[in-house]
Amino acid sequence: MELIGYTCSYIPVEILAATGFRPYRLLHGEVNLSKQGEKLVRVDACPMVKSNLSYIMNNQDKFRALVGSTGCDMSRRMFDVVSEMTEIPVYVINNPRTDRVQIFNDEIDWLVKQLEHLSGKKFSDDLIAQEIEKWENARECLRKIDEKRGTKPSLVLTTDFHKAVANYYQGNITDKIEITEDRSNKPRVYLLGSAITYESNQILKLLEKELRIVGDYNCGLSRFLNIRIGDKTLSGIKDAYYNQPPCIFKRPNDKFFEFIQNEIKKLDCIGIVAWTLDYCDIYEYELQKIETAFNFPVLRIKSDFSFQNLSQLRTRIGAFAEMLCSKT
């Protein structure tokens, strides 16, 4: 099946799926892909954007179209490069950073028109309702698993959860999900920051040797589970996606911090892991505020996917875990 690639949590997967193509979230991040991407953009571009660019270039024939948004400057500009270098149709929507619901709604309407034209299908109310139901059900299954991460004691590793949600992101929502229970009383931490990519499972594994990630606000993990579409119409989609817990790029972004504060409290976390990719402006600029805003110890991990200093990282994670244990 042909893919319709997309980059942003504000892009409604239901609309993409209505085309009949498989929605495929561009969440690649791997050192070789990233290095390949340096033929097209500078070395100081986000490693995830470089990886995605390479993935697209290496798999052009798989993609029927690509949909992006203005959520992040580099990822928006990635599509400029794609447009120059390939024939893949590219649709970039305005995702307003300020509170401009009309812009968002108009852009979703525009996207619908484009995808109808691309697919040759009319997105009828029934079709929309069907897709909403399908994807809501998928989300609901994953929510049940996600809830088990947050129980006390935690019952599910985020390492395993990540593999499950990868299916969702890659559009495989019919596959059965089986996750082995893994009970743990390790220090409970909340993960936020740059997206955890498909290839980054090892970092989760490393973290969860000493810690237990019980919750996150991350584009590669559970963030999409905040989408709950009650009204099974296009309006319902717009409403749910626009009003999801805000991204850190929103201006002003104090609501983001409020949301995270509540989540951390709800999940009874005692620490935060802030994972950022090199040159990820959106998160790197906010790290100092993250360290002071929540009154929790923060472990900062920065990466370009090369994972060159794994042993050093292991030591840091160990020390962080020890410190958290000593506080409880």
Partner: protein, 463 residues
């Protein structure tokens, strides 16, 4: 003395010597805000150097009286902003949009817009990492745009007064800017956020949207104009609240005045870049272009200075004289350099800037004077350099390359700046009919011999 001087670029000492020949009465003739008590600004580079602009010891500047006025006026800006506030004017910070919001602000009498973003040059003119270090302490990553100086400037409160209002434009913006503006908000400044839409041009596979074209030939969905109109009306409403003045005629008048400046600068550029011998140096030309953003906090005086600049350039052109050799190699420059000395360097090594893309296309475009002024502003802003595709951004340079008017292109980048990292390779590819040199501008005092050698080698290639 000045009338008979052959044009050339001179250093600080020579400028001091020239300045000494000026009558005190003449020096006192030029002042800002029409205040001849504290508003004088005709001072030599040495004045500003004594007060910390250390790079003036190394820069070479044009030797005309016109240039003296330009530099005295632009270097005086920080003091001017404080004096504005002291004398009861409203000082309005505008960030991110680079050129349109000040047009609205200046329509209100006694209101002075300025761009804190322009403090990105301060570390370089001062040859100092004070602001950049402070930004790092505040959590800004070191590999990022030098606009991070603005955050430190807000924190220190020593580079401009506390603004009466602060407008920050985000959306299809450079992320470094957007993050800096958020951090300014975190300091407790009350920010009025404005949304800049991504200017999505049409594609053969698009349907539905009605497209229009700006006066620079750039396509955009018609409804985007309305989005911007909403934002500009928000600005207007805030200004009305602040000043209790509400007169759209003032906006129309100010649009006309803005257009006068923009046309003047266009004429200056056309003349300077077309004639055989460069009549004015590239560094001064960069200052002139950026003056379009807000007139360096006294629009009327800046307009007057530009008129003088134009006369000087016309005069030099008429006489067939200039500051560079006739065989100076014509190059295009993409991205303004944060370090002014790079422009000096390129000229010293035989280059001549004849085309620029300084991320401020929106501040160069004329604004329609008929019809609704907010729509006119919106249409003008939709010419912005950074809100659309890279191809659109460098189109004018591409044309010059294809016409054979430039022999090489220099792109100045900053390590870690979001749009630099993504656009540069694409720009290199688009302009690849001629040699392209991409330079990372290092932090202050970071220009190495290696960098100079690269530029020299590039100029040799072009020769």
């Amino acid at each position: 003395m000045f009338e008979n001087l052959a044009p050339k670029k001179i250093d600080l000492k020579e400028w001091s010597r020239q300045f000494r020949s000026l009558d005190t009465d003449f020096i006192n003739k030029f002042f800002y805000y029409k205040n001849n008590d504290w508003g004088r600004y005709l001072f030599p580079p040495a004045t500003f150097m004594v007060y910390g602009a250390r790079q003036l010891k190394h820069l070479k500047l044009d030797n005309s009286l016109t240039s003296l006025r330009l530099w005295g006026f632009s270097f005086n800006e920080s003091e001017r902003l404080f004096r504005a506030k002291q004398s009861g004017k409203k000082v309005i910070a505008t960030m991110g949009d680079l050129g349109t919001v000040p047009v609205i602000v200046m329509a209100f009498p006694g209101c002075i817009p300025f761009y804190p973003d322009c403090t990105w040059w301060t570390p370089f003119f001062n040859e100092s990492n004070v602001l950049l270090d402070r930004a790092s302490e505040m959590g800004v990553p070191e590999a990022s745009c030098f606009v991070r100086s603005a955050l430190a400037a807000f924190d220190k409160k020593a580079y401009f007064p506390k603004p009466d209002l602060l407008f920050a434009s985000t959306g299809a913006s450079c992320d470094d800017y957007s993050c800096i503006m958020q951090m300014v908000g975190n300091l407790g400044y009350d920010i009025i956020w404005l949304e800049m839409p991504f200017r999505r041009h049409t594609a053969k596979y698009f349907v539905g949207d009605k497209y229009k074209t700006t006066n620079q030939g750039l396509e955009y969905p018609e409804r985007f104009e309305d989005y911007l109109v909403t934002e500009y009306k928000k600005v207007w409403a805030k200004m009305v609240e602040l000043t209790e003045i509400n007169d759209l005629e003032l906006l129309r008048e100010n649009i006309k005045k803005t257009n006068r400046l923009r046309q003047l600068v266009e004429n200056i550029k056309n003349l300077t870049y077309e004639v055989e011998i460069a009549p004015f140096p590239a560094l001064e030309m960069m200052v002139i272009e950026f003056g379009n953003l807000y007139g360096y906090a006294d629009f009327d005086e800046w307009l007057d200075i530009c008129e003088m600049i134009y006369e000087t350039i016309k005069e030099r052109t008429r006489k067939g004289i200039g500051v560079l050799k006739p065989d100076a190699i014509p190059i295009a420059w993409v991205m303004p350099t944060a370090d002014p000395i790079v422009l000096n360097l390129v000229e010293d090594l035989g280059g001549r800037v004849v085309a620029t893309e300084y991320v401020i296309n929106q501040a160069l475009a004329q604004i329609e004077e008929q019809g609704d002024p907010f729509n006119a502003l919106a249409r003008s802003f939709l010419n912005a350099s950074l809100i659309g595709s890279t191809e659109e951004r460098v189109r004018r340079i591409t044309e010059k390359v294809e016409q054979g008017r430039v022999r090489g292109v220099i792109i100045t980048n900053m390590l870690g700046a979001s749009h630099c990292s993504m656009e540069t390779r694409l720009i290199e590819k688009m302009l690849s009919k001629v040699p392209v040199l991409s330079l990372d501008v290092p932090s202050p005092l970071g220009i190495t011999e290696q960098l100079k050698t690269r530029i020299a080698a590039f100029m040799e290639t072009l020769r």
